[in-house]
Symmetry: C2
Subunit: 265 residues, 2 copies
């Protein structure tokens, strides 16, 4: 459970860093599962022009470790607490920034997509990113503007976003973003593998390419309050889920138990 | 003059950070001169497709402040000391990474260009970058691999570089760069306006786009030992100078005196 200070920090800043929420042993299980995904050929697995893995959507549907991870109490409980009720999984993806890769993301707010393409009524959702690898200043950390979620949806200076996973999504730029960034500053949370970052649907975020030899693989889980479920899905089910069943937490040691049972089988 | 520790640090790491080498008052003079350059239309001033200023070569030839700055004792003396003799200016440019701009640089070593295109015999030169604006982790700082200058010229996994100011220059990538970066780590020197960074011709370096609202304007001065002057210039004179006259230092207060005299005139 989150402390009152952590809840206040999320509400003030629009993000919350939970350093090393998962142990190295747990993250080793998750990284092995990610390696399985990298090798898969499925419609949910998207690659760049060079054939390089970029991201995979809906990973709970074709890997049991990611299904367990989605329901992990250390992810489900803080989300229920911050959103104030039962939640379901709206989107769940694995993104890998390869060493010396080109993948980057311009400034954007996720709620713009969820509203426009999926018909999500209100920003009663949140993202959790979990670092599968250590994130440092050289491998393309996500940059936030603390407190900028209070600006709501930014509609000035918007351009269509280019990029393989953002069909028509919008990019924020220009004077409005400048005003908000000058007023609030920027922060790029870093940490060891197993660290998690929760952030608000209105939080503007961006990231640079990975300039380093160190992979930066990350899970992004979007949880939405059940009574805020989407109403006009236009994207594939694996991009915007339509199963609104509440997430129920598995046991806290589920990842390690899974490996032990798989080894015994 | 540099301390023995600073000289040892440069030789060990291949770069040396000199925090706030110039005062805010001096940098205000240099920034005003840079603003004059941004507005100029000359062959030496290069812009992107959007008309945005990117860089200007040979700025000493058309702005008196940059001519003074080139000869500033706090730049000339450390260079003479590290290179062990008289030096001349091989290249001198102003680069501006605009707020939320696209300008970045892939991994490369400058000596590859100086040798191939200009016929510089040996790496008896060095770069000094001087920060006209504060450099932070969000506005595209230059990344180094400490100690990697000892690798010499990296010839494996080389690709032609794309970019408006690097006609045919090569980009380092792949396993060789990975090996060197894993062995040495990375560093991105930051600091207030007026900070200088000296770095070796063999130092691999790269930088990401400016993701912030804060301009990142930088002077890059390449000094070469006079007895190592170039022998086969193929690029415009403003890119690779052919005047090998040794740089003689002006007075230490030359920038402020210039402004006073200009105001009195």
């Amino acid at each position: 459970m989150l402390t009152p200070e952590q809840i206040a920090s999320y509400e003030r800043d629009g993000y919350l860093l939970l350093p090393e929420l998962f142990t190295p042993a747990e993250m080793a299980v998750v990284r092995r599962a990610a390696s399985d995904i990298y090798a898969m050929n499925r419609p949910e697995v998207w690659r760049g022009k060079d054939g390089e893995f970029r991201l995979a959507f809906g990973v709970q549907h074709y890997h049991p470790v990611f299904d367990l991870f989605l329901r992990h109490p250390r992810l489900v409980e803080p989300t229920r607490e911050l959103l104030g009720g039962d939640v379901y999984c709206h989107q769940y993806k694995l993104i890998n920034k390869q060493p010396f890769g080109k993948l980057d993301f311009p400034w954007h707010q996720d709620f713009a997509n969820w509203s426009k393409f999926d018909g999500m009524p209100e920003p009663r959702a949140l993202n959790i990113s979990v670092f599968l690898d250590e994130v440092n200043e050289f491998n393309g950390p996500v940059i936030f503007i603390p407190g900028a979620h209070k600006e709501g949806l930014i509609t000035a200076d918007v351009l269509p976003m280019e990029g393989i996973d953002q069909d028509g999504a919008h990019t924020i730029q220009g004077r409005e973003l400048e005003r908000i960034a000058r007023a609030n500053g920027m922060v790029a949370p870093k940490g060891k593998a197993g660290t998690a970052v929760l952030f608000h649907p209105y939080m503007p975020h961006a990231s640079s390419p990975n300039q380093s030899p160190w992979s930066r693989s990350t899970i992004y889980l979007t949880s939405n309050r059940v009574d805020n479920h989407i109403t006009r899905p236009t994207r594939p089910e694996y991009v915007a889920h339509t199963d609104f069943t509440p997430l129920r937490a598995v046991a806290d040691d589920a990842l390690l138990t899974y490996v032990e049972e798989a080894a015994a089988a």
